[in-house]
Amino acid sequence: MEQAIISAQNLSKAYRISHRASYGTLRDSISQLAKRLLTKTDQHDTVEEYWALRDINFDVQTGECIGIIGKNGAGKSTLLKILSQITSPTSGQVTINGRVASLLEVGTGFHSELTGRENIFLNGAILGMKQSEIRKKFDEIVAFAEVEKFLDTPVKRYSSGMYVRLAFAVAAHLEPEILIVDEVLAVGDAEFQKKSLGKMREVSERSGRTVIFVSHNMAAIRKLCQRVLLLDKGRIIASGKTDAIITQYLRPQQEYQSESLFNDDAHDVQFRRVATLNIHNQPVREFSFGDKILLQINFDVKKKIFSTLIIGFEIYNDEGLCIFTSTNADQSGVPKKIGVGKFQANIYIDTQQLLRPGNFTLNFHAIVPNICIIENIEGEIGFSVMDSNENITSKLGYIRRGVLEPVLPWNIQKLS
């Protein structure tokens, strides 16, 4: 087997998070010092070590295109920064056998006062291109960016689209042996993204360059990479063929229940049971896109609440984003008073209007606004919405981006 072009051994990176003011002024440091001298005790204000990367080992062969995926904070960017020599590891080492260019951002070093032409040279040089190289590719870069007319305009007068196109165009014409790319394809409009992705493929496939590619866009990873590393909390938790690892990554880490019962008795308002049901009143955790979900909340009110009692839930998607919150105050604004007793709330959720295929978790809460949170239940139950024929995405083979995939009534009229 030939020698790996990149080889990482036991790579770790720790950041020190100090719990005092983080980037201090001289005054802070002096007063800290004084305090330490006076109190004698070795009062090392709580400094916490945070391991952004822990024992990372991997090899990359020449010509391979490797994807790195993982949630935010998994350590992807730190790994790229070490590979690009921007920051140094705390322990371990990486051996790289070739010229590296890294693209952690498009338009690094662009100066708004300089013209498009000047910025091409500036940015090219910052990315590691020789001036002669840039001159040779200048026309190609300009054509790719579609900014011929504005070459001698300062980039501060560019539209954001033009700016991004120019920035990506310079980067796309790098010709290193190893290219390190962070989430940079997510710029520009859809059409330009497609063009950029095409360019990236050309770079990795046709010219046989080695590429390390970080993205949250699984479609792009699938198109570009043969192999993927999955990072979680600073460690590589899986690596292998792209499809297998992506499937593993997208699978929810925890199998959520469709129904959860509570026996606790500590609160004045006590949740007894929360469940997701289908239209036949059976608890299920998988729904098809287009189905209605019946959310059932059983709760006891044990003491009279004198102020307004709000019962509500929140729906979170895979990425931890709260899609929406709904409460018993949704319709009227001022909810009906709830007396002492046992209650059941039934809420219908239309997946087609409010969600999109994916995995979701639910939080529940009972609160008295401005006074207290009586009860709060997080991540006990969850459900999945599966793709179905109802989904326009699968019908048209056209990706709709967004948190929701609502069906809106469009009215298109021909104008005379």
Binding site: T25, I86, T87, S88, Q93, T95, S102, Q131
Partner: protein, 278 residues
Amino acid sequence: MAEYQGNTIVIKPTKGWVSINLRELWRFRELFYIFSWRDFKVRYKQTIIGVLWAILQPFLMMVVFSIFFGRLAGISSNGVPYPIFVYSGLIFWNYFSTALMGASNTLTDNENIVKKIYFPRLLLPFSATITPLIDFFFALLVLVGMMVYYHSAPSLLTVVLLPLLLLLSFLAASGLGSLLSAINVRFRDVRYALPFLTQLLFFVTPVIYPISIVPIQYHWVLSLNPMTGIINTARAVFLHQSTIPYTELIYSTLVIIVLFIHGLFYFRRTEKIFADVA
């Protein structure tokens, strides 16, 4: 942070002092030109009189100093007209203070690049020190004009000493600038303290007064200030004075060499954390 063996880079943690990688600096020379070119290009963008500022600023300072210190306060200028006396020192001082300021703020000004791309970080303070040289040359033109006006011919030694003095000023500004820029990454106080400190330093540098008005036993203290020897020597050659203060020049040179080496090594030592704390 990285070792090169041919085409192979080994990235591993470093501890303590780090040597200065000249080969790498040489490899990145084009980026150095580009940074300098950018700083120059941007310097007078969107101004009406543009590079004329490089002339106007020292010229007006010279006028003001001549009125207040030359005329009203009657500070001696060793027999030469006060305007030309003060101006010949001022252009070196202006170069030094602008370059020092630029170099000290360069890492924080270029923070977005430092955090995203690797290159030898030393390029930044160096290129920030190079750019103000252009202003210096424009300001020098005014000096030539003043020499014609006052019928004052420079000494022949100018040809040799001017480049040397410029080199020394460059080393002083880039050495001290590297040190301060590295500190500035962690402690932004530098940005605020520096203008104040340069102003103080200005008064302990013989720019507006001749060193002869300071009692002789304190001259060595002034000579510790790297710009003292440079400015006194510059005056001696520009104004064609008989004695060139070689002792002071040697003092200043030694101080500058120490400053420069210390600045560079301190910079290299702290370089690895720039991206983490900037």
